[in-house]
């Protein structure tokens, strides 16, 4: 069963981070929120697998703390 990838998987991590912050540059908070919501939906569909998505949701919903893979 596929698991959420928590080890580095980016082809170019620094470029991604720059692109992400660039997308939000000079945007209002409301606009930024919409960008983020669209991004989540686009990426979630790309991931597709419900188990992996739920794993990501669980980690994202946890308050700050070590990202632990949930036993399934």
């Amino acid at each position: 069963m596929p698991r959420l990838e928590l080890n580095p998987n980016f082809t170019d991590p620094d470029a991604f981070y720059a692109a992400l912050t660039e997308a939000h540059r000079e945007r209002s908070e409301a606009e930024s929120e919409r960008i983020n919501a669209r991004l989540i939906l686009l990426l979630a569909n790309h991931v597709g697998d419900q188990g992996v998505l739920e794993e990501a949701l669980t980690i994202a919903a946890q308050a700050a703390g070590p990202a632990q893979q949930q036993p399934r």
Partner: protein
């Protein structure tokens, strides 16, 4: 008042019990002659059980109410002998459009799978639905005693039987019964009288239903608006019913005043803004409602069995109210019939609760999800809803997230104690617990439908395309099986050797389009056992008579007998 439909007025008849000192005992009394009560009475009658049906009114539904009847419901109605008038009167649609604010974001075509007798669904006003059920019940009058203007005012539920008091214009009378089936609606008075509860969620919202008659042509499509300019921040649904009547659902919000909103002078401008200034229409009927998603923890209380909205209630999105109700009544009817005929232990009844709790939970889940999409409960969920709709305009993936109500699909009783063995290599869609699938066949040289061969009794579906030697061995075994199992018929997919075709209570069908083989994954000598409600009980790659015996016993709950609480009466008379 509706102009396209006149509610029939059914006659009150003075009951014979008023002129007798004895309290009559009935096997089954049904409270409520709505969709559930009528369907249960018809189903029981077809399976040899008499019932008395009591309704405190003397007509069918006032107003269109439930209007969307799904394929499985139509298949159930076909088994009950009243699908044809519904299919003839109902309208089908395949094309829908979704709008967000000023724009159409996408359209869709449902393109239902071919090779089924029933369409994916029909739109039909509830009053027609009930009227055709009444017609069918009246045709079965020797087994259905349908009593209008008879109101149950007292219920005494005991472990062995139930006593009720009924009031009429000529006075009160009492009845006792083995089983009282309660289908008196969402605000069930019987449920209240017994101190029982249906629990769940009330949605803090109001909706206005308006049925309008269009004076000119309008396309037969389902239109759903999110946040339209003519009704900001709310949703609106438009779809077609027979008689050129269009149902419009306006979400109003919780603060709306129902009495004000129902007034024609307030409805007209809203509908006019939506249809456009040039469209002429008449207002037929309007109603304001709120809704709940809730169910009882146990649908059975001693020998009182709850059905329909009294047992389980859902929001209207996804049309799972009346559709779910019909699945419940058909689940109950065959079990009750066999318990009353002494062919099954009373413990079988408890599986009505276990199987239909699963169905009710599934229906509530689906309708709650649709409701949450249509009426987001927080700023962030509203944000996700809106960007989903925006993305849907350009990207197909997002259309799968748009939820304005999903098509009502029947429940599959996974994990039911009645399910028998499964085997490798069969389609997962027809695993034990699933409703059977239809397919076109040839029967006696004529076109026919497979599902019409199933139901009311157990059926063994056998792929009879075996060689002569195997056919003779099978015929010997199955001949004995049919001799000892009165409640079993055989349907053989041929061409099959003569030895099989000559068996008693056997129908030979030809799989002319190959769809039976494809949908059921059949191979020579394999087969399915179908319950009287057309759900799969078990299936085998190579079936044997003894395996069928075991699966039949299991489907009838023989193994449940000793597991029930024996405290009340001991042995087979303890249930619920």
């Amino acid at each position: 008042m509706p102009t396209t439909y006149n509610n029939p007025v059914y006659p009150y008849r003075r009951p014979p019990e008023l002129d007798s000192d004895e309290v009559r005992h009935c096997p089954v009394v049904i409270v409520g002659a709505g969709p559930s009560g009528l369907a249960a009475a018809i189903d029981l009658a077809q399976q040899g059980i008499e019932s008395v049906v009591l309704d405190d009114n003397n007509t069918v539904s006032v107003g269109s109410r439930a209007i969307c009847f799904a394929k499985r419901t139509l298949e159930i109605l076909d088994r009950l002998g009243c699908a044809q008038p519904m299919l003839d009167k109902g309208v089908t649609w395949q094309h829908g459009r979704v709008f967000f604010q000023e724009r159409e974001v996408y359209d869709f075509n449902l393109l239902p799978e071919a090779g089924h007798r029933a369409p994916a669904f029909i739109n039909l006003q509830q009053y027609y639905f009930e009227e055709y059920l009444v017609d069918r019940a009246e045709a079965l009058a020797e087994r259905i005693d349908l009593r209008w203007l008879h109101k149950v005012v007292e219920v005494e539920a005991r472990p062995e039987q139930t006593a009720i008091t009924v009031t009429t214009q000529d006075g009160d009378y009492r009845l006792t019964c083995d089983y009282l089936l309660v289908a008196d609606g969402a605000n069930s008075r019987i449920r209240d009288m017994l101190g029982l509860e249906s629990r769940g969620q009330v949605f803090q919202d109001r909706f206005l239903i308006a049925d309008v008659i269009m004076k000119a042509d309008f396309p037969t499509e389902r239109w759903f608006w999110f946040d339209p300019p003519f009704h900001p921040n709310q949703s609106v649904l438009l779809h077609r019913q027979p008689d050129n009547v269009w149902r419009i659902d306006f979400q109003l919000g919780w603060d709306a005043d129902p009495e004000e909103e129902k007034k024609e002078e307030n409805i007209r401008p809203r509908v006019q803004a939506m249809l456009g200034e040039e469209v002429e229409f008449d207002l037929e009927w309007a109603s304001v409602y709120t809704f709940r998603c809730r169910k009882m923890d146990d649908f059975i209380h001693h020998r009182v069995v709850f059905m329909g909205d009294a047992a389980h209630q859902v929001s209207p999105f996804g049309a799972r109210g009346a559709n779910g109700a019909l699945q419940s009544t058909e689940n109950l009817a065959w079990k009750l019939a066999r318990i009353l005929k002494g062919q099954a232990p009373e413990a079988l009844l408890a599986t009505y609760n276990t199987e239909r709790q699963l169905g009710a939970a599934e229906n509530i889940l689906n309708s709650t999800r649709a409701t949450d999409f249509i009426t987001p409960k927080s700023r962030v969920s509203r944000l996700f809803r809106d960007v989903t709709l925006e993305l849907a305009e350009h990207y197909p993936f997002a259309r799968r997230l748009v939820n304005s109500g999903r098509l009502s699909l029947p429940c599959r009783y996974d994990g039911s104690p009645l399910n028998g063995p499964d085997a490798e290599g069969f389609p997962a869609e027809l695993r034990p617990g699933s409703p059977a699938k239809d397919a076109p066949v040839r029967l006696g040289g004529k076109e026919a439908w497979l599902l019409n061969r199933f139901g009311n009794r157990f059926v063994l579906l056998l792929d009879g395309r075996v060689d002569t030697a195997r056919a003779e061995a099978l015929a010997a075994e199955l001949g004995e099986l049919l001799a000892r199992q009165d409640d079993l018929d055989l349907v053989i997919v041929g061409p099959a050797p003569d030895a099989l075709g000559a068996l008693p209570r056997t129908t030979l069908v030809e799989d002319t389009q190959g769809l039976v083989g494809e949908r059921y994954g059949l191979t020579a000598g394999g087969g399915y056992l179908l319950r009287p409600d057309q759900h799969v009980a078990a299936r085998w790659r190579e079936l044997s008579a003894s395996a069928v015996d075991d699966a039949l016993a299991r489907a009838l709950g023989a193994h449940l007998d000793t597991t029930t609480d024996a405290a009340t009466q001991g042995g087979r008379h303890a249930t619920a």
